[in-house]
């Protein structure tokens, strides 16, 4: 029995020899991509300026926006509105209060609150402190130092002051302190005030309104100063840029220059659409999301390279075919692999999305989108660009040939009529 017959019963999703037309219909697919990318471009300013409830281009997490994100676990049912009101009364205006996915499955009432403040003292309060502490006993305040996000205030007087009386004066105007102590040389009369943490202050406010012990626990707190947030935004953008540059260098080294731009446009396309999905759903866009986008880039590359490898191989093997036919055939040949891999990865990321909590969930969401778009872009974005660049390249080679240079050039793919 010939070996060929023995292997006819493969389980196959794409029959061998299938020749779906991808390249011929590329304009529709590119059109779709343009629509998606444009949608992203429109969605960002819409979020920022038109949708009042959104207010930012993306739902930046505290790590980018600056502020504090606190998860509160209540010991009894509480309304979000009541929390918001309590916080407003305690001086935290514009607090976001969201029901937090119940992580344990036990009967608990969890909320995530997000406030712009990082420290218990707002800018307004800082001014108030400065005014009301201008005279302490017979000493006059000479310098007042406070920074947003700091948990310390420095006060310098012209004469020595008793730290404990300073603490009392602060308490009188509603600022709770952990510690007040002298700072630096004794003759400098400088006092360091350590403020109570934001989470403690919020817990105190909520317990006061809802009864002692209402806040059962504070499972997590995250706070970022505005300046650190800017730095992280910058770092995030820079890392995406580096990843793209490095990948381009590798492609140029392993393949040739024609293959580079297609890959890079494809992965930019994937990154943009993934971000677009975050703009439309207004899911939180945090540091972890940037990590997810970087992973999507890696995945998108992976996918494009498998297709390109086949194109390169076929291009040397089938020299007498037109280049766009070679590309179409290569896509068909790798199609089952492309679909299978995407399916397995998608299985896994969907499982992460359904069962994961918090960070993992948003991470998996970005990957879901990224895997879908990444698979699509290696076929419908990267390949057409490769064909286009190849045509340009070949035409310029032809010109060189007609002017007499490079006369011994080997035969090119398009020298022959279509088969």
């Amino acid at each position: 029995m010939p070996a060929t017959n023995a292997h006819q019963k493969f389980v196959e999703i794409i029959k061998p020899g299938s020749n779906y037309e991808f390249i011929g219909r590329q304009k529709y697919w590119i059109g779709l991509s343009i629509v998606l990318v444009t949608l992203t471009a429109i969605m960002l300013p819409l979020n920022a300026y038109v949708f009042k409830s959104r207010g930012h281009m993306l739902n930046w997490g505290v790590d980018f926006r600056g502020g504090s994100e606190i998860v509160l676990e209540f010991s009894k049912p509480v309304e979000a509105g009541e929390i918001r009101k309590t916080l407003a009364d305690a001086g935290f205006a514009d607090a976001d209060v969201v029901k937090y996915a119940d992580p344990t499955g036990l009967k608990k009432w969890n909320y995530m609150i997000r406030v712009a403040a990082v420290s218990v003292v707002s800018e307004q309060q800082a001014k108030q402190i400065q005014e009301s502490l201008a005279h302490e006993g017979n000493a006059t305040l000479k310098r007042f130092e406070w920074s947003e996000g700091g948990d310390k205030v420095y006060l310098r007087y012209d004469k020595p002051v008793d730290p404990s009386s300073l603490a009392n004066s602060l308490k009188a105007i509603g600022v709770n302190t952990n510690q007040v102590q002298t700072f630096g040389r004794a003759d400098e009369n400088t006092y360091e005030v350590t403020l109570v943490g934001l989470d403690t202050e919020i817990r105190r406010a909520l317990d006061a309104r809802l009864g002692e012990g209402a806040v059962a626990a504070i499972p997590s707190v995250e706070s970022v100063g505005a300046k650190a947030g800017k730095q992280l935004q910058f770092d995030g953008a820079r890392s995406l840029l580096y990843a793209i540059l490095l990948i381009m260098v590798y492609i140029a080294f392993r393949f040739d220059l024609r293959y580079g731009p297609g890959t890079v446009v494809a992965l930019l396309h994937d990154a943009v659409i993934t971000v677009g999905a975050f703009a439309v759903t207004y899911k939180e866009f945090s540091l972890t999301t940037v990590a997810a986008v970087l992973t999507v880039i890696g995945y998108s590359m992976n996918d494009t390279i498998v297709v390109f490898d086949r194109i390169r191989e076929n291009a040397t093997r089938l020299r007498d075919r037109r280049f766009d036919r070679i590309v179409n055939q290569s896509i068909n040949e790798t199609l089952s692999r492309t679909l299978l891999t995407s399916a397995t990865v998608l299985f896994v990321t969907l499982a992460m999305n359904w069962f994961g909590v918090g960070v993992i969930r948003d991470f998996a969401f970005a990957l879901n989108i990224g895997v879908l778009v990444g698979t699509y872009s290696s076929i419908f974005i990267a390949s057409p660009i490769l064909i286009w660049l190849n045509d340009k390249y070949v035409i310029s080679q032809k010109r060189q040939q007609s002017t007499g240079r490079n006369a011994r050039r080997p035969r090119r793919d398009d020298d022959e009529p279509e088969v």
Partner: protein
Amino acid sequence: MERSWWWKAALYGFVTVVAVLYLIPTVVPEDKQPAFIQKHFQKRIQLGLDLQGGLHLVYEVNVDKAVAGKVDRLASDIEDRLHKDKGTNDLVVSREGRDDIVFTFKPPSDETKLDDAVLKDYRKTLDIVSRDATTGVVRLRLDPDQVEEVRDYALRQGIETIRGRVDKFGVSEPTIIKKGTDIIVELPGLKSADFERIKSIIGRTAQLEFKIVDDGSEYMRKVAASVPKNDKGGAGIDVVPESWTEKDSSKPHEDVTLRSKSRDTLMKFFDGLTGELALPPDHEIGYEETQGRNENGEATPDRYWRTYYMHKRAPLTGEYLSNADQTWDQQTGRPEVSFEFDRQGAAISERMTGDNIGRKMAILLDDKINSAPVIEGRIGARGRITLGGFGDPFALQQEAKDLVAVLRSGALPAPLRKTFETQVGPTMGRDSVDKAKISMYIGAAAVVAFMLIYYRLSGIIAIAAMILNMLYMIAILAAFEASLTLPGIAGLVLTIGMAVDANIIIYERIREELRLGKSVRTAVDSGFARAFWTVFDAHVTNFVAGVVLYSYGSGPIRGFAVTLLVGIVTNLFTSYWLSHWMFDGVVGRRGAARATLSI
């Protein structure tokens, strides 16, 4: 089988055994581990902060303030010198910007008094920017190298100080690292209840203080009389009398102190005193950890805390230190720290010690008494701190060096400002692990089912490769003692999904070869050969993305990058070479080439 196949079998077997050995400390409870494992393989995967719960803090060090402080000190030093040595009285000294000191002399001709004799000690630190004889204005600037040094010192100082404080708090594995002008502090496993406390401890300013102990006081005698006796169910506090005589005048000193095993016990006791026994407002109690002694005066391993009743005011602080060095005690050979005061500090020290000869001077570091030697004579510009620590000399020397680092700039010269904070409670962490595990199992189950259906028996090879990949990955993570974060687990899960990709690429190739009518053995070999560069390129590009992630990422994201990178390397190994070897085992039996392959 060919001989090379057996060699490979031995190699892969060996690698797998080593991987299993590295894995044991992580998965098997400690009391059930075999003895040789406990001896040679102790490294294990740590749970990251987000899984274990804990505190992640980022402090920005205001280094410019440290530089300005240094300039201020230099300015007052020079002013002091001009005043004493040259008799210059009508002089305005100010700091402009961060680095400039401006002297304005009256009359202007006095500017010549700021001559080389005065400036000789500052030749390296200060540059003369301009000198105007008509207006009497001299402008000096801190040398740029010095600026760098001060900035650098302020940062290292901050790290040293924070580390010392965190260590005292007893957090199991703190990470304190520098990033730019930021200090990152990670305290995994810290209990939520301690968050607030440790934050205030870290943020506090390190202060070295010298205070005079008020011995023989009426107050302490009264307090000592009120201490409940131990044998009658007391609070675990002993009353210990002590006495010494002055060296020169032989004048006797007598005092009583309280001693206990725990500092908290003593503190609570003093807090509870009221009325007549309440602590006078100008005094306070200092605590020192001491070694117990038996009747013969020999040291015992017991540790005690003892009290000092001392004046609240600290006439002398670390601010006046000009230098500190780690030296050795001439008699005992133990490491110690010697220090030097600046001119002003020396003057204060002379007055302070001269007035209190025969008394004890408590040296406090961060509110803890380091030592309290008896003042035997007038102490000028120099002094030393004998380390009260116990333990091996090497550790003591380290401690001495750390102390030098802290003392050299005295209290924290640059204030810390918290810019980033993440707190994770332990329940949050545990729950995340459980959920991540579920998604891992489901993802793995889906992949296994799919591979078995689609590739039938060859699917088993892919699954075996996937399982071995997981094993190697976790073993490598354990060998590096990497910490596993929530995104790290996501990286593991994702690796499961991506791992089969290489297998799929190879299998599809083998199928193509089979369709061309090649024999099973040729098809397998050429399938693997032709798929190699595709698989390799795909892994490399993913690796590049992983490297960028690692170098950019902070905290948890790094965890993800690490698992991703390790996974890419092990995956290339298992899904290509190891799978190839397994296929050879299935199809490569000598003599009987198989006609079919279940793929």
